[in-house]
C-alpha cells in the first residue's frame, strides 16, 4: 500500500520507489499537505499540473543519470559513502517523480496518468580516457547539474506561498543538496592524474551543463511562482548566482585553477544556442 491512499501519483510511478529507499518506500518524509482552498481557474490548474507532470518525467530520467554516476564512482574506487549516496540518489529521483505526480494530481483533483517517459541522455566527453570520463560524469551531474538544480529550487522555494508547493519544493531541495554534495566531496578526493585531466575540461563541462539550464522554459512573469514555478528570469538569476558563488568557489576550494571560468563568467557566461 505504501501510503497509496494519500497519494495522487500514478501507481506505476509509486511502485518504482524502492522499499529500502530513503524513507522506507514512502515517497516523502511526510505526506504532502492538501492543496486547500485556492482560487484557481480550471485552465490554471491544468497548466500548473502540466508543469509538475513534465517535471516528474525529467526527475525520473535523472535516475538513469545517477545509475551511471554510481557505476562511475564504483569503478573509480571512490569513497564508499559517496557510492551509497549515489545509489540512493537513483531511488530519490524515482521518489521525486512520484512526488511531482502527487502535486500535479492534487491540482487536478484526481490521480494522474503516469508521466510520459523521456529518452535517456548523457554526454560522451569525446577524447577523454575511460577514467577521466567517469570523473567527468560525476562532476558534470553532481557538481554542476545538481548545484544548478539546487539553485533553481532555492528560487522556487522563495517564491512559493501555497503550502503544497512549498512542501514539495523543500523536499526536492533537501535531496538535491545531497546529490550535489556527492560531486563536491568527490573532487576533494581526486588523485593528481585525474585532477589534472579534469582541469582542462572544467570550462567546456560547465558551458555544456549550464546550456541545458538556459534552455528550460518558464513563465516570463511570476504568475505561477506561488505554486513553485518561478519566472524564467528569476530562475536564471539564481542559477547565474550559483555559477559564480558556488560552482566557481567550489572548484577553487577543491584546488582547481578557475581563472578561465572566472573570465568567462565575467563576460556573462555565454553558452551559445544549440539549434
Amino acid at each position: 500500500m505504501r501510503a497509496a491512499m494519500t497519494s495522487f501519483a500514478s501507481a506505476p510511478t509509486r511502485d518504482a520507489v524502492r522499499p529500502d529507499g530513503r524513507f522506507g518506500g514512502r515517497v516523502n518524509r511526510a505526506p504532502l499537505p492538501p492543496l486547500g482552498a485556492v482560487e484557481l481557474s480550471d485552465e490554471a490548474r491544468r497548466e500548473i499540473a502540466s508543469v509538475w507532470l513534465v517535471q516528474a518525467a525529467t526527475e525520473a530520467r535523472v535516475a538513469t543519470s545517477f545509475a551511471i554516476v554510481r557505476a562511475s564512482l564504483d569503478e573509480l574506487g571512490a569513497d564508499p559513502g559517496l557510492i551509497r549516496l549515489a545509489a540512493r540518489a537513483v531511488d530519490d529521483e524515482h521518489r521525486h517523480a512520484a512526488l511531482c505526480e502527487d502535486v500535479a494530481g492534487r491540482y487536478l483533483g484526481h490521480v494522474v496518468s503516469p508521466y510520459a517517459p523521456l529518452p535517456d541522455q548523457r554526454p560522451d566527453h569525446p577524447g577523454a580516457s575511460p577514467e577521466l570520463r567517469r570523473a567527468l560524469f560525476v562532476v558534470g551531474q553532481c557538481c554542476l547539474n545538481e548545484t544548478f538544480a539546487s539553485a533553481y529550487l532555492d528560487v522556487a522555494r522563495r517564491g512559493a506561498t501555497i503550502p503544497l508547493a512549498t512542501a514539495a519544493v523543500r523536499a526536492l531541495l533537501s535531496d538535491e543538496i545531497d546529490h550535489a554534495r556527492i560531486g563536491w566531496a568527490f573532487v576533494q578526493t581526486l588523485p593528481t592524474a585525474v585532477r589534472d585531466g579534469l582541469q582542462a575540461w572544467l570550462l567546456p563541462l560547465t558551458v555544456c551543463n549550464l546550456r541545458e539550464w538556459r534552455r528550460i522554459h518558464l513563465p516570463s512573469d511570476d504568475r505561477l511562482a506561488a505554486h513553485g514555478i518561478p519566472a524564467w528570469s528569476d530562475a536564471q538569476a539564481g542559477i547565474t548566482e550559483a555559477l559564480e558563488g558556488v560552482v566557481l568557489e567550489g572548484f577553487r576550494h577543491a584546488g582547481f585553477d578557475t581563472r578561465a571560468l572566472e573570465r568567462w563568467a565575467r563576460r556573462g557566461a555565454p553558452v551559445g544556442e544549440v539549434v
Binding site: A180, R181, H253
Partner: protein
C-alpha cells in the same frame, strides 16, 4: 554581481553544498588511489597551471579571453563545447522542442513517448 560582494555574503549554498560535502565521505582510506586533496583557496599549483589547455590559466588579457569563448571554441571544431550536458531535473513548462509521439508496442498497446532532443550543435 557575486564578484563584487564581500566573502561574508557569498552564496549560502556554497556552505551547504561544498564546505559540508566532506560529511558525505566515509573516509578516504578505503578508496583505491583516491586520497584527500588539501583544501585551499590560494593560487593553484604550478602543476595544475601547466595542465591547462592553451589559452587557459594565463593572466588576464584579450588573447586568453578570445580562446576561452565557447563560441570560438565551437567554431574551431572543439567538440567538448558542442555536447549536450546532463539532462536537467526541472523542465518548466513544456518547451517548444519538447514533442511527443504515440508509439505502438509489440503487444499492440499504445504509449506516448516524448523527447526534448535538439539537432546538431551549431552555435549562433
Amino acid at each position: 554581481m557575486i564578484f563584487k560582494a564581500p566573502r561574508s555574503v557569498r552564496h549560502q549554498l556554497l556552505h551547504t553544498l561544498v564546505f559540508s560535502s566532506v560529511l558525505a565521505l566515509d573516509g578516504c582510506a578505503g578508496g583505491a588511489g583516491l586520497t584527500p586533496t588539501p583544501q585551499t583557496t590560494s593560487a593553484p599549483s604550478e602543476v595544475t597551471v601547466a595542465a591547462l589547455p592553451s589559452g587557459s590559466g594565463s593572466s588576464s588579457g584579450s588573447g586568453a579571453a578570445v580562446a576561452e569563448d565557447p563560441e570560438v571554441q565551437v567554431a574551431s571544431g572543439d567538440p567538448r563545447y558542442c555536447e549536450r550536458g546532463w539532462p536537467t531535473t526541472k523542465a518548466g513548462t513544456r518547451p517548444p522542442a519538447y514533442h511527443c509521439t504515440t508509439v505502438t508496442l509489440e503487444d499492440g498497446t499504445e504509449r506516448e513517448e516524448c523527447s526534448d532532443e535538439v539537432g546538431p550543435c551549431v552555435l549562433r
